[in-house]
């Protein structure tokens, strides 16, 4: 090969100016044979005790059952090692799967169309806000404080770049967005869009009511629904039915591993009106040169590789493989299974709520909830969670981390995988923890 190239050694191919030559040895992990890599990383993995605890953690990442058929299919090399399907003729299978994903998300949200995915729920919200900014030409955005705190933080990061101000709507006593405050905010400033999350960060159903919808339409604001627990879409009224024009969501619940936070899969669904503002890849159905039905990446004139600095988003690589996993999950569980799983989540979270209430915790919110519930434990939740952790229980999230006014509250999730025994263990330990404190 060197002869063909006409050089004597490979070094000639990599010549760099003297100033760029490495001056010191690189400090990189050592090279190991494969069996030792396996042994080493298996050892490191064992230091993740969190997987063996009884867990009520949720907050935008949920432990659900994933049938093994998902990985058997999704991990096939044809899917796993493909690039973005630019060459449609040899990518029909993947393109069809993404077309199916776009359909599933459209049907679940009640929207006209959905994109091929974005990075995750938080960036879905940020990109939706950009859609609203582009649609209205306004530089101010409104978001409920009951939207996931991480999502709001990412929204702020993105909006900082665009010099867009972000205002927040307060939370009402029942644990949902204060819709009167929303209406008032809309009349005092010109907003591009307003975002609500349902179920919200506290697990509560939280939608625009008729008055909010009127105010939104009167002021020409783009209403956005955030969905951090996509399973809820199987049970609750679709965001389209309560007035959303854009739905920004996270579909990790559909078979995507928790994996310490990623990769997950965000989606954006919207109405026809915004079709040319939606970011990311879109798969469309068309025909080939013989008139046969075929799939292809489409409306690419929106995208960075064509439009460069005039593109509406810079997204290139998205989360195709996670979207494929979610599509296969939805195909496997079907309508019947998805309904059952959603119903079991509701049932188990009611059982959990009853158990912690019986253990002496107060349930501060009265709004209906999906699979997460907030409990007030009467003293800093961080302390109670620490005590539970010593007994092998991850009781939930300390709300004080994001909401100082709820420092005594914890957010707990129950899914179809949560057992009565786990709930009993939590409740009895919680009771003990609360009583021990009361005596002091």
């Amino acid at each position: 090969m060197l002869d063909a190239i006409g050089v004597e050694s490979p070094d000639a191919l990599l010549a760099v100016p003297d100033a760029l030559k490495l001056r010191e040895p690189l400090d990189v992990v050592p090279a190991l044979p494969e069996y030792q890599i396996r042994r080493r990383l298996e050892g490191v993995a064992k230091r993740n005790g969190g997987v063996d605890a009884i867990s009520f953690l949720g907050g935008g990442a949920y432990r659900h059952y994933a049938p093994p058929a998902i990985s058997a299919l999704a991990m096939r090399g044809e899917f796993l090692t493909a690039y973005t399907p630019y060459q449609a003729e040899v990518s029909q299978g993947y393109l069809q799967a993404i077309y199916e994903w776009q359909t599933y998300i459209s049907l679940l949200t009640g929207m006209d169309l959905a994109d091929a995915s974005v990075y995750d729920g938080a960036t879905a919200l940020a990109e939706s806000a950009i859609m609203a900014i582009n649609a209205t030409g306004r530089q101010r955005f409104l978001v409920s404080r009951a939207v996931h705190p991480n999502y709001r933080a990412v929204l702020t990061t993105y909006c900082d770049g665009l010099d867009v101000a972000v205002d927040e709507i307060p939370i009402a006593k029942n644990g949902t967005t204060d819709l009167a405050a929303l209406a008032e905010a809309l009349s005092s400033h010109e907003y591009a869009g307003v975002a609500l999350q349902s179920p919200n960060f506290f697990g509560n159903v939280d939608t625009f009511d008729a008055a909010a919808r009127d105010a939104i339409s009167k002021h020409g604001v783009v209403p956005i629904a955030v969905v951090a627990e996509a399973l809820s879409l199987a049970a609750l009224a679709a965001p389209a039915s309560w007035g959303a024009k854009i739905v920004a969501g996270e579909a990790q619940s559909f078979g995507v591993p928790l994996a310490y936070g990623g990769p997950y899969v965000g989606f954006i669904a919207t109405v026809e009106e915004h079709i040319r503002r939606i970011p990311g890849r879109l798969v469309g159905k068309t025909v080939d040169n013989a008139g046969r039905a075929a799939y292809v990446l489409t409306l690419q004139a929106r995208e960075q590789h064509i439009r460069r600095e005039r593109a509406l988003s810079n997204i290139c690589t998205n989360q195709a493989h996670c979207a494929l996993i979610a599509t296969i999950y939805l195909a496997l569980v079907g309508k019947t299974g998805l309904r059952d799983i959603a119903a079991l989540n509701v049932e188990r979270s009611r059982e959990l709520a009853t158990a912690v209430a019986n253990a002496g915790a107060r349930l501060p919110f009265s709004a209906p909830f999906f699979n997460e519930v907030v409990a007030d434990v009467g003293r800093p939740a961080a302390e109670v969670l620490g005590e539970l952790q010593k007994r092998g229980i991850l009781g939930g999230l300390d709300l004080g981390r994001w909401y100082p006014e709820y420092a005594n509250c914890m957010l707990m999730a129950a899914t179809e995988l949560t057992t009565t025994r786990e709930i009993d263990a939590l409740a009895s330990n919680l009771k003990e923890s609360m009583r021990a404190r009361a005596v002091v």
């Binding site: 090399g77 003729e89 119903a343």
Partner: protein, 489 residues
């Protein structure tokens, strides 16, 4: 050698299959939702299909067979670094203790995950000459955005709010200018010189008090090394701007030279290119963002730190641009990238780059026997050929060559990019391909060029062995059909 099965019957959509109630027993039956919610809070129908597991398995197996991955054949997609993805990486990422770990697990119960992130972060920092890396960004484009947000905050803190221009060479990836626009920066596009490089004199002409960042990749997308990178960096730095390294082409230099030593202040890596993470048909990616010392405090949160034997996620970084995603990282990919680092070590990675460059140059001289290669010199990991003379002679375009390669069992190269080369074919073989595979590819390409001269019609009609022929993209864009719709009852 047809690329795929020649079965040309359309696969039904999953929505057109199955029967209501054909449920798989993954969970028990749930109680009616009406017992828990007021009726108006519930949806009235859920128009999704019910299919048996067998039918679903057959459906997606069939779809997989209509998809071309690296595991099936040569994938010379320029700038995408489609190298072999070792299976051990997936096995390790799939370990229960990694795959089932919730992101809100307290640090003390996630020490293994944090150690993975820490080891990867430290290794990348040394390998590329950066002070620190953030593993947060979900892909290269998001890392670019995060980097430009870092620059914006950095300049704001220094009271230099007039810096609003980003300089991008005309050979740059489209994400560079698009990311700049998302930060409110305007873009100065820089013309490459006759040798396909950025001329430092040209940089000196455009830099000034309004320069924020100059975004470059080295080697550039023509596969050429920018030897005068120091002069370019000096010019940008003297004007008070920052240098950004687009790491999409890092496979050409890792272990041999470091962006940090070239004067870059910020950079990203596409570990789904360079570090063998499977691309998954368009993600998930993983785009670590590296910075020099003066920018560390601006990195996105959280950042993994080590206190003695303990690792923790640090959120308390007041100057940070904030988080850029829901959770901490595409962690499963961090596991894969670390496994790849362990498989190679520093010396192995240097050898990876050497073989990638060797393979690219071998292909370059072979392809030059029958196609124009506009920059006839030693290239790095990739090179460009142009079908412009062939098009003039025969009417056959780069696109026709690409489609004819599909018929011969190869993925097509990147075409029509970079934009400065007419009828461009951008070819990147990577280090993991054997000489035999490269030779087969060369012969296929030689045969196509010969066919262009003897029977161009054959190429205009390609591909003919794939499940569909050339697709009508215009119709797709004019009459967007982006989803299946249920038939009205």
């Amino acid at each position: 050698m047809p690329a795929q099965s020649s079965d040309r019957t359309l696969s039904p959509l999953i929505f057109e299959m199955g029967q209501d109630g054909r449920a798989n027993a993954y969970v028990e039956r749930g109680k009616p939702l009406e017992s828990f919610f007021p009726k108006d809070a519930l949806r009235d129908d859920l128009p999704l299909p019910d299919n048996t597991e067998l039918d679903v398995v057959r459906h997606y197996t069939r779809l997989s067979q209509r998809t071309f991955g690296i595991d099936m054949g040569f994938y010379p997609l320029g700038s995408c670094t489609m190298k072999y993805n070792p299976k051990i990486n997936d096995a390790l990422a799939g370990l229960r203790e990694f795959a089932e770990l919730h992101p809100f697990v307290p640090d003390e119960l996630a020490q293994g995950a944090l150690q993975v992130m820490y080891e990867l972060e430290r290794s990348l920092s040394s390998l590329f000459g950066m002070e620190a890396f953030s593993l947060n960004p979900a892909a290269g484009a998001q890392a670019e955005l995060a980097a430009l947000l870092v620059s914006k905050k950095y300049f704001r803190d220094r009271g230099e709010t007039r810096r609003n221009k980003v300089i991008v060479p005309d050979t740059a990836h489209g994400t560079n200018p698009a990311s700049a626009a998302m930060c409110g920066y305007s873009v100065i596009s820089l013309r490459s010189d006759a040798r396909g490089r950025v001329d430092p004199a040209e940089i000196r002409r455009v830099v000034g008090a309004d320069t924020a960042v100059c975004m470059m990749t080295n080697p550039n997308t023509l596969g050429l090394f920018e030897e005068r990178i120091h002069e370019i960096a000096d010019a940008v730095h003297e004007a008070g701007g920052l240098m950004y390294y687009d790491g999409a082409n890092a496979n050409a230099l890792m272990g041999n030279a470091r962006p940090g030593d070239m004067g870059f202040d910020l950079m990203h890596l596409n570990t789904h290119k360079t570090f063998t993470i499977p691309h998954g048909g368009g993600g998930a990616g993983h785009g670590p963002l590296g910075v020099a010392k003066h920018l560390v405090e601006y990195l996105p949160v959280p950042y993994v730190v080590r206190d003695g034997d303990w690792f923790r996620l640090d959120f308390d970084r007041p100057k940070s641009i904030g988080p850029v995603r829901s959770f901490w990282s595409n962690f499963a990919h961090a596991v894969r990238a670390l496994a790849y680092l362990y498989a190679n070590g520093a010396e192995g990675l240097a050898r990876v780059s050497q073989y990638a460059v060797l393979n690219a140059n071998y292909l370059r001289v072979k392809v030059a026997e029958f196609l124009e290669t506009p920059y006839a010199e030693i290239c790095r990991h990739e090179f460009v050929a142009s079908a412009q003379p062939l098009k003039k002679e025969t009417g056959v375009r780069a696109l026709d060559i690409a489609k004819a390669l599909l018929d011969r069992g190869f993925m097509a190269p990147t075409v029509y990019f970079p934009l400065i080369v007419p009828e461009c074919l951008m070819i990147e073989p990577t280090e993991t391909e054997s000489k035999e595979t490269l030779d087969e590819f060369v012969e296929a390409l030689r045969e196509i060029v010969a066919a262009a001269k003897s029977n161009p019609q054959e190429l205009f009609e390609a591909p003919v062995t794939t499940v569909v022929g050339r697709v009508d993209e215009t119709r797709a864009a004019r009459q967007p059909d982006l989803r299946w719709r249920p038939k009205p009852a």
